[in-house]
Symmetry: C2
Subunit: 318 residues, 2 copies
């Protein structure tokens, strides 16, 4: 049932009650949900950026690992991270929610998680759809505007490779959760409450970044996406990765769902100005070379030798 039908007083029924509950919790964070489609304005000179991301129970998370608020928040943060990687500003989002009966009882907590994400990350809820199903599924489609978009394909030989934040927390949290132990609070927080680097992405786009991707599969894997899209070789200096306390460099290289930004930009990028502005480290972790005879890819150093980097992938996914 489209969430748009929900501000009508259409009598009783579980679906209507659920939608009314959500709209009440959302208040002014939900815009324009009274028509068949929401209407939004893209300013002249800007392009529209669109991305979609689905989180499914037992595929992307387990119920016992996260609160309902965290599950809802995290699904929005992950989707918005794709806008951050483009240097875009959120314009709005639509939420497609599939609930089991058990999850319907948690609708207030889920709605509140969406509300926190909407408010904190600046993305109004402009539409949605509510279905029943046999598992919780949250589909978030995000819309943003961007004047000068960062893409994956712009990395140039001579650029430095940069990453925001400190890596390894989500992998360590996930490993603890999967083994039934409690993760360190700092690691758990990075897993449960990722912060898409929206303002940071716009700053980087405005300060000479040539290409960007968000870190969802792990730095090693995501750098290989950048290298392939740019037709370049990326030399990743594993021992320069910025580490969360407790993580090794190998763990940091493979930790996924970080939602930090991996960016190519000239080595002269003023990372200290970035760090002062956002209180987030911006670290040079390698450089870009022409593809040469070996073709596009990612390499690292092992002693004096360069070796192709095994791609890590820490998604909790079959």
């Amino acid at each position: 049932m489209p969430i748009k039908d929900l501000n009508l007083e259409l009598g009783p029924g579980a679906e209507f009650d659920t939608i009314r509950t959500m709209l009440l919790r959302w208040g002014a964070l939900a815009h324009g949900v009274g028509d068949d489609a929401a209407l939004l304005d893209v300013p002249a000179g800007s392009r529209l950026a669109v991305s979609t991301d689905t989180s499914v129970e037992n595929v992307h998370f387990r119920r016992e690992w996260l609160s309902a608020e965290e599950i809802a928040y995290r699904s929005v943060a992950a989707a918005l991270s794709d806008l951050a990687a483009m240097g875009a500003t959120p314009l709005g989002m639509v939420i497609a929610l599939t609930l089991t009966e058990q999850w319907r009882a948690q609708i207030v907590q889920l709605a509140d998680g969406f509300a926190v994400a909407s408010r904190d990350l600046g993305a109004p809820i402009v539409g949605g759809d509510l279905s029943e199903g046999s598992e919780l599924s949250i589909g978030v489609t995000v819309l943003g505007t961007v004047e000068r978009a960062l893409t994956r394909s712009g990395a140039r030989a001579g650029d430095a490779l940069w990453v925001t934040g400190r890596l390894g927390g989500p992998l360590l949290a996930l490993r603890a959760l999967q083994s039934g132990t409690a993760p360190l609070p700092a690691h758990r927080d990075r897993f449960a409450h990722p912060v898409p680097r929206l303002r940071e992405g716009r700053w980087l786009a405005a300060h000479g970044a040539t290409a960007a991707i968000d870190c969802s599969d792990g730095v090693a894997a995501d750098a290989s996406h950048l290298a392939a899209a740019s037709g370049a070789r990326i030399i990743l200096e594993i021992d320069r990765l910025p580490l969360m306390a407790g993580a090794t460099a190998q763990e940091a290289a493979q930790s996924g769902e970080e939602y930090e930004l991996i960016v190519t930009a000239p080595g002269t990028l003023d990372h200290r100005a970035f760090e002062r502005e956002y209180g987030v480290p911006l670290t040079a972790i390698g450089h870009v070379e022409g593809a040469g005879a070996d073709g596009a890819g990612v390499e690292t150093h092992e002693g004096a030798h360069r070796v192709p980097l095994p791609r890590g992938h820490s998604h909790f996914s079959g």
Copy 2:
């Protein structure tokens, strides 16, 4: 896994194979899926229209009723119908697909159904997401552009109420399918292959329509949405409903998932010009009055009396 990662040659794996298969079937119908977000342009003077719709197996359809192609086509058609009701032109769509292992074996058929819808209805596939799950779920978010949007709230006292097409087919098809008998081909076609009235919606917006909604819950229910949003009373002449062969007026009033347009416009609307242009009937089925003391709502006639209309709802939905 985002469908955008899929044009990279990232080695084997069922999800990558599935995405590669889809991208191969889609060819040029899929645009800009190589970055974190797709970039689209909204022409100056136009607004962006956005809507989302989810189809879940055993909630919105049953596997034995429809082919995989039809399920995929129908999920897109239903979503685009919301753009038709706004008078909008499709700009693109993103598809969030959750597959079971059994459905993964039908990926070519599903991809082809999306391709037919994309091509026939003029909506490029600009992004997507592939997940595994315990049931097939198809989430389609559609994006369109519109210069003069039709909304639900513009109906004015004195307007006539119009509907496109002939009603009743989906309800009769659904009734047959639910009782295990074969629907008439014409009824089945209206259920399996609905055609969103995109060009028709734009024509109506350009020719004086004041409000519109697509018929997803049945004319009676959808007219009540229009009445509520417009703060008006709508008098629906049940015996003037245009009928599919085999349907009664009551069945036509309650048949949902029609994806015809219900529109308010002056009674002088040139319905013959519309019918010549599109080969689809446009029928006056009532009129709009001020809300008066009784408030907004829908009424019909029973002999000499006006009676409130019971709302029908034929969705196959628990």
